[in-house]
């Protein structure tokens, strides 16, 4: 053999490669040599084998350690610092992106929620206004505390202006709903007049005893009726000679309605405010 050296000796390796190329020609001798040496190594071990055994012992132990470390630890335990930094950067970027997405979505969510909220509030306010206005316009029945004023007029001396005075006094005292004789709802356009002997309210004849039901603060209403020189004094005075009974009630029900007619000429001067 021309090479005295191990294959890893620097100059040995290329030469050996050339030999390998040429090997088929001279193959019989080294091959039988190789088998013979392998067999002889099995029967009579030498010092070199001990050293090789020590090396292989180290390699086997190292390999097992490495395999264990690989399987036991997570995939990142053996990663290089730069790889870990790259991984960490990627994860940080991703989490930043996702957090931005989260905040965007939460913004959208709160926008939608507040939008729905304002719409709901606006609708509630509009409904409230409708309720208030329909009570004011007399198109809805109403219920609440108030008084019932019963005016008897034995001498038939009541005039429509006394009744109008009574209504005005009640309005002064904060009356919210007024009804005459359980049949006529007093609204903004209500008029009082005379029809022969009887009184007419909004075109309907009303007869004594006149019962005026009023929703409002009962105490204020009664005081407003009874003050000296007020409507009670006027009715019970010598000119009319009637009697007035006033009872305060926790619950006055007004269910007569005023039929609203559509305005023929008047229109709102500005566009109706949108309920917002």
């Amino acid at each position: 053999m021309p090479e005295p050296d191990d294959p890893r000796a620097g100059p040995g390796a290329p030469r050996r490669a050339i030999v390998e190329e040429a090997e088929p020609v001279t193959t019989s001798t080294p091959a039988s040599d190789g088998r013979r040496r392998l067999l002889s190594s099995l029967v009579k071990p030498g010092k070199g084998q001990l050293i090789a055994a020590a090396m292989l012992f180290l390699v086997g132990m190292g390999a097992v350690m490495q395999i264990r470390a690989n399987t036991a630890d997570s995939a990142y335990a053996n990663a290089r610092r730069e790889d870990l930094i790259v991984l960490l950067d990627g994860l940080g970027e991703q989490s930043q992106r996702l957090e931005g997405e989260i905040s965007d979505m939460e913004q959208t969510k709160s926008d939608l929620a507040s939008g729905a909220d304002t719409q709901r509030v606006a609708r509630e306010e509009a409904q409230q206004r409708v309720d208030d206005l329909s009570i004011l316009a007399g198109t809805a029945p109403a219920i609440g505390p108030g008084i019932r004023m019963r005016i008897s007029d034995p001498g038939h001396k009541m005039t429509y202006d006394v009744l109008l005075d009574a209504v005005e006094e009640m309005r002064d005292a904060g009356a919210e709903v007024i009804e005459v004789n359980d049949s006529v709802r007093v609204v903004a356009s209500t008029w009082f007049g005379r029809n022969g002997e009887g009184l007419v309210v909004d075109g309907k004849a009303v007869e004594a005893p006149y019962v005026v039901e009023v929703i409002g603060d009962p105490h204020s209403l009664e005081e407003a009726a009874r003050f000296r020189g007020g409507i009670v004094s006027e009715i019970t005075g010598p000119r009319i000679g009637g009697q007035v009974q006033i009872e305060q009630l926790d619950r006055v029900v007004v269910d007569s309605l005023h039929a609203q007619t559509k305005n023929q000429y008047a229109q709102p001067a500005s566009p109706q405010p949108t309920p917002r």
């Binding site: 050296d5 191990d6 890893r8 050996r16 040599d33 090789a52 132990m61 350690m65 470390a69 053996n78």
Partner: protein, 110 residues
């Protein structure tokens, strides 16, 4: 025969005692193992070709392992550690295949 027993004994000791790799050496152990495999195949080839020398084997084993680890270490220091370890593995893999081919020829005439 004895080297084979040594390998088995090393595997058994590794399995039973389960020693852990020192933390600073951890990145270099895989490359050192590949280098050691290269040295072992080279030594077997030399043995089969009749020019085995235990001194050369030990020196080449140790220097292979140390140089492989050193290359990876330097690569880590200058920031190309993963590329350099790939390069080392490729080179050692080629050598292992070459040695294995020589061993095959020596043993099986093919």
């Amino acid at each position: 025969m004895i080297p084979l027993l040594g390998l088995v004994a090393g595997i058994i000791v590794g399995l039973v005692l389960a020693p852990s790799v020192p933390q600073p050496l951890e990145p270099y152990l895989p490359i050192a193992i590949v280098a050691a495999m290269d040295a072992i195949f080279g030594g077997l080839r030399a043995y089969l070709e009749g020019n085995f020398s235990d001194r050369v084997f030990v020196v080449s084993f140790v220097s292979n392992v140390l140089i492989a680890a050193l290359i990876v270490f330097i690569g880590d220091q200058i920031g190309v550690g993963s590329q350099l370890s790939t390069a080392v593995v490729v080179v050692l893999g080629i050598r292992i295949f070459t040695n294995a081919a020589a061993i095959r020829r020596a043993l099986f005439h093919a």
